[in-house]
């Protein structure tokens, strides 16, 4: 693997900066002119800049594709932070990994911009919305194109900012604003750890100048002690658990659904939340030197995958189900990178971007049609009214459930196989998660599209399929949610894992590493996962289509467990009681009891004492300014004499 990386071919190209700069131009346009021009102008410019970016990203992708293995496109824009031995550049790079990421970001991003044109039509904050959305694209592109850790952090926090702004986009509702704030703050907790990781790394990189570029880090990491690397990688991973909504910092993502639905699709499903996975893949050579950290990543990923899936079983808000499913799927990606299957993790990231964006946009179409209703108990039977949404949503459901032939099947199975090779227990967890996923997704699908419509009459009368700006992206994403999987087939099929081969020069080709499963074993594993998926789907069909009384009966029978899941394991309440409230109380205490009582008490007390003395001294005082000046001088001289006497 290292020998492959040694063969890095760098090429300096001048157009890279345009990829993030185009959406940046969009941002400036919306800010300064957005409110003055008609809505149509904004709705042309906002997707157009991202579309142009996509074209440039494709050009870069083709260069990598057709170039020698290990080709890296680079562009250094300016020297950013030169202080002593620190010399960080504002520099961009595109290698195979980044090429994949920018295609997803600009490609899916473009579709979601397009969709938003219809979805946000008539909103008073139209220009503001697109300013935020374009800004998000800029930050996300910076995150994946940065050639060093610190610039990546700029994008990292930048996407967090846009997430904050977009979750609270409809700011006049307090709940939305609170959700946005929560997202930012929880992310900041992770980011603080991330920063400490950077500090620790910097001070252990050895003598000489440091650009903190990924190439440099990969090179120098070999000379850093394993203990330090473990600490660094774990700290960076804490950052990832914030951004990518893993245990224990996932709590912001379900609340983030308060934002407009296209935002949930783009930011809280397809792109931003995958940043942590990208970060680990990007730093894979450091993580590989810290096996303990990788183990932690894998375990956290597997646990999150199951944990979030169980909550998803009982949620009734269409977006909340999808949110927990996102957390769960992100868990799979971390499981993948944790067991060293970096390419598989990124592969799942890509397919997930397709089908989860599709599912969210589909849910947006449903919500749109139902006049804002998000409760799946009040839906049902929508297949007749929303034919395109229905079909595309079905594709998405099958893809995420991991039905053979759909994208999610290939990527998830690659992860399962590698997990099994690493530790069967992780595989077991992932398999359970897969079954749960199939169950809650089919439950969601059944409750929304099958059976009888449970909406009230007025809503029913207004049911309509969404406009074409919304359905066209759905169709495109549905196609991708099928064909997207075929770039990474199992090794024994047709053209094999093209995706893995493409990424191999960057993240190594783990498939050839030790423990490559036997063909029979691989087939057995695939069989097991298909069985799990079919069981999950079958149960869901039985529960929610054939015999809808079963779930209620179960909920009554297993009341405790049901309530635990319904209340999301009371984690929010736990954090509130263990952290939020004590800190607030401490703050009150410090202000009232320390600042005002102790310090100011002492100061005011001293002041009063002086006044008292003054009253007593007044007999000798004339109230004349000269006298005060004189005493000041005398005091000064006395002190001086004292000092001189000592010296």
């Amino acid at each position: 693997m290292h020998e492959i990386q040694a063969a890095v071919v760098a090429e300096h190209v001048g157009f890279l900066w345009w990829i993030p700069a185009l959406p940046a131009i969009g941002v400036l346009f919306h800010i300064f002119l957005g409110r003055r021009v008609r809505e149509t102008v904004v709705s042309v410019i906002a997707p157009a800049v991202v579309g142009l970016s996509f074209i440039l990203a494709s050009v870069a992708f083709c260069r990598i594709w057709s170039g020698p293995p290990g080709l890296v496109l680079q562009q250094t824009l300016w020297s950013w932070l030169p202080v002593g031995s620190l010399n960080v550049a504002f520099a961009l790079q595109v290698d195979a990994l980044t090429a994949v990421m920018i295609l997803v970001v600009t490609g899916v991003g473009f579709l979601i911009h397009l969709y938003s044109v219809g979805y946000m039509h008539g909103d008073p904050g139209y220009a503001r919305y697109f300013a935020y959305l374009n800004l998000f694209t800029v930050a996300m592109l910076l995150l994946v194109m940065a050639d060093n850790l610190l610039l990546m952090f700029v994008g990292w926090e930048g996407v967090g900012l846009c997430s904050y702004l977009l979750i609270g986009f409809w700011y006049d509702k307090d709940a939305n604003a609170s959700a946005g704030k929560k997202a930012f703050i929880v992310n900041r907790v992770g980011d603080a750890a991330f920063l400490v990781g950077i500090f620790l790394l910097f001070w252990h990189l050895g003598p000489g100048a440091h650009s903190l570029s990924f190439t440099e880090i990969a090179e120098r990491a070999r000379h850093v002690s394993p203990a330090v690397l473990t600490a660094v990688t774990l700290l960076l991973f804490i950052g990832a658990t914030g951004k990518s909504a893993q245990l224990p910092l996932y709590v912001w993502l379900p609340d983030a659904m308060a934002g407009p639905t296209p935002v949930s699709a783009l930011i809280h499903a397809a792109t931003m939340v995958t940043a942590g996975v990208y970060m680990i893949a990007r730093l894979h050579s450091v993580y590989e030197l810290a096996p303990v950290s990788l183990e932690v990543v894998a375990i956290v990923g597997a646990l999150t995958a199951v944990f979030a899936a169980t909550i998803g079983l009982v949620q009734t808000d269409i977006k909340k189900v999808l949110a927990y499913s996102t957390i769960s799927q992100l868990g799979y990606m971390f499981l993948a990178v944790g067991v060293g299957a970096f390419a598989a993790g990124i592969f799942h990231l890509v397919t997930h971007a397709f089908f989860k964006a599709l599912l969210f946009l589909g849910s947006g179409s449903v919500i749109h049609a139902l006049n804002g209703e998000q409760d799946i108990r009040k839906m049902g039977g929508l297949r007749h009214h929303l034919p395109i949404t229905y079909r595309t949503f079905l594709v998405g459901t099958l893809a995420i459930a991991g039905v053979p032939g759909f994208a999610g099947f290939f990527s998830k199975d690659m992860i399962l196989a590698r997990a099994f090779a690493h530790a069967p227990i992780l595989w077991g967890l992932a398999l359970v998660g897969a079954g749960l996923t199939a169950f809650y997704m089919l439950r969601l699908f059944s409750l929304v599209f099958l059976g009888e419509c449970r909406a009230d009459a007025r809503t029913k009368a207004h049911l309509h399929e969404s406009p074409s700006t919304m359905t066209v992206p759905l169709v495109i994403l549905a196609v991708l949610a099928v064909v997207g999987g075929y770039v990474g087939l199992p090794e024994f099929l047709a053209w094999g894992n093209r995706f893995g081969a493409f990424l191999a020069p960057v993240v190594g080709n783990g498939e050839h590493a030790q423990h490559h499963p036997q063909l029979t074993l691989e087939l057995a594993l695939i069989g097991a996962s298909i069985l799990a998926v079919l069981t999950g789907m079958g149960l869901a069909y039985r529960f929610y289509v054939q015999a809808p009384e079963i779930p209620e009966r179960l909920a009554r029978r297993w009341r405790g467990a049901y309530r635990l899941l319904w209340n999301k394991y009371y984690v929010d309440e736990l954090y509130d009681a263990a952290i939020v409230r004590p800190v607030t109380q401490l703050a009150h205490f410090l202000w009232r009891q320390f600042d005002l009582a102790v310090v100011d008490g002492a100061v005011n007390g001293a002041g009063e004492a002086v006044q008292e003395t003054g009253r007593w001294l007044r007999r000798w005082q004339t109230g004349n300014v000269q006298h005060y000046a004189l005493s000041l001088l005398l005091g000064t001289l006395a002190l001086l004499a004292y000092f001189l006497g000592r010296g």
């Binding site: 020297s79 400490v196 500090f199 010296g647």
Partner: protein, 512 residues
């Protein structure tokens, strides 16, 4: 040409010229003040362009005898440490004068005092004679006393007196220490001297140095303000008029941190190295304590005031690191804090002009009536939060990076300030700007005027520029910071040749 003298005294000249304008012509007074304030700024820009960024020592020095018998001279000079603080001061004054359109009470005196204040601040920044520095240092205090005492809020008298007493308590001891230094110079060399460059050469017994350092440090720590000497600040800030708060936060507090870097540390390097762990601990307490107290403030302005305690904690933490990243970050953060906290006070002031209250509970949902204000306030708030891509991040990152090299645990604890900073600022912003408009009085508020936008615009441009391209600042600071650190290092090393007790081990993690 005496460029520094021009920069320092053109504001005083402006004050004199304002005296000549009749007080009835309020508009003429404001316009003249704004125009005059651009002169020192233009001169400072000229200084910036002519400044030799490769040199670490004092430039543009001026020297004239004042009271030569006691070694007191009129001596000015500028280096990479003071350069940008000078520019910052002159840059912010026009903004403060733009804000003066909202001042109606005793306008003329207000404007005159601001100019006197500017001379005091600029003088203190470029004075290289300790006595001269002290004169300017005290000169700043008097106008601020009146600014708070006359134009302040309800508890203005209490606040003003508290400010003066606090500050005087420290600065008198500092004066004693300065005089002691001059006399010590006389005993060592044969003649009195208050010249900074002469006093750097003094070799005093460690015991004496400790006392002298303590005297300087106390004066500066009160000004910074460092925990637990900060309680004058919330009162002074809250009661001061908007312009006064801006100056207080943006520049006056920097006199404390600047004083450490210019005087307390280089004059007593051995003791400074000894004291830095204490400073680091107090700085970290300040960061966390200030942020926590911010969270529960019901008064918007008091919240911003306490945020200064937290932010200045960062500045001191970076300085305590005594390495390039830390100290340069500290210097950079001084500028950042000046700009972003200045901006926050302007934002609070703009609300106060509209509603005559500063209570957070009175607001809510202001984005709807005030979208332009909201957008600008948002950027200012994010700059203060230290969002990467904006100026605040550069400073905080360098500070924490540097601090980590010397005091890892302090840096780790300080990093929690990054979280808390987001907590109190975002929560404040939410309660003021987001949610439904609960108070009917807020529904019909008028958005920012062109003049008010003009106050914020230069700040916002600088936030972005300084966040994305800090190099022009950093490279001009570096030689002077390096020189200062080298002096500290060599003195501390020679003081105890054996590097075993950790005191003299400045080199460890020093010049990285």
């Amino acid at each position: 040409m005496p460029l520094l003298s021009l920069i320092v005294f053109t504001p005083l000249l402006a004050a004199l010229m304002l005296v000549g304008i009749p007080r009835e012509q309020a508009q003429a007074l404001r316009r003249a003040a704004l125009l005059f304030s651009l002169v020192p700024f233009a001169l400072a820009v000229w200084l910036l362009l002519e400044f030799n960024g490769a040199r670490g020592d004092l430039q543009w020095t001026e020297r004239a005898a004042w009271i030569p018998r006691y070694g007191i001279h009129y001596m000015l000079g500028v280096d990479g440490i003071s350069l940008f603080l000078v520019v910052l001061t002159t840059f912010l004054m026009p903004i403060v004068f733009l804000q003066a359109w909202d001042v109606h009470k005793r306008l003329k005196e207000y404007l005159v005092l601001l100019f006197v204040m500017e001379t005091g601040m600029l003088g203190a920044l470029v004075a290289t004679d300790l006595f001269l520095f002290y004169v300017f240092w005290e000169l700043m205090l008097i106008p601020m006393y009146f600014l708070i005492g006359i134009w302040g809020g309800e508890r203005r008298i209490y606040a003003a007196i508290k400010l003066v007493l606090y500050t005087m308590a420290g600065s008198l001891l500092m004066l004693v220490a300065m005089i002691y230094l001059a006399i010590a110079h006389q005993q060592e060399v044969g003649q009195y001297s208050f010249a900074w460059e002469h006093l750097l050469q003094l070799r005093l017994p460690l015991e004496t140095q400790r006392l002298l350092f303590a005297a300087f440090a106390l004066a500066f720590a009160i000004k910074v303000p460092m925990f637990p000497l900060h309680t004058w600040l919330p009162d002074a800030h809250t009661e001061a008029p908007t312009g006064g708060s801006v100056i207080l936060a943006a520049i006056l507090l920097k006199m404390g941190t600047y004083g450490f870097l210019r005087f307390a540390i280089p004059l007593f390097p051995e003791v400074a190295v000894e004291a830095m762990p204490i400073i680091a601990v107090l700085a970290v307490i300040g960061i966390i304590y200030g942020a926590l107290v911010c969270m529960v403030q019901p008064d918007l302005k008091r919240l911003v005031a306490y945020s200064s305690v937290s932010h200045l904690g960062f500045v001191m933490l970076g300085m305590a690191a005594l390495n390039l990243q830390g100290v340069q970050g500290s210097l950079y953060q001084m500028l950042n804090h000046g700009l972003s906290t200045g901006g926050l006070f302007l934002a609070v002031g703009a609300l106060y002009e509209r509603r005559h209250t500063r209570l957070i509970a009175e607001f809510g949902g202001l984005w709807a009536p005030l979208p332009v204000y909201g957008a600008l306030f948002l950027v200012v708030m994010l700059s203060s939060v230290g969002l990467p891509g904006l100026n605040g991040f550069v400073g905080e990152f360098l500070i924490l990076l540097g601090a980590f090299g010397r005091f890892p645990w302090a840096a780790i604890l300080g990093t929690t300030g990054v979280i808390l900073g987001a907590v109190y600022l975002l929560w404040m912003f939410q309660r003021v700007m987001f949610g439904p408009v609960t108070n009917p009085e807020n529904k019909s508020l008028k958005d920012l005027s062109v003049r008010e936008i003009a106050m914020f615009a230069p700040l916002v441009v600088l936030f972005v520029f300084m966040g994305l391209y800090p190099k022009p600042f950093l490279v001009r600071m570096e030689p002077s910071v390096r020189l200062t650190l080298e002096r500290v290092e060599s003195r501390a090393r020679s003081a105890s040749s054996a590097c075993n007790d950790g005191i003299a081990c400045v080199a460890r993690g020093g010049q990285r």
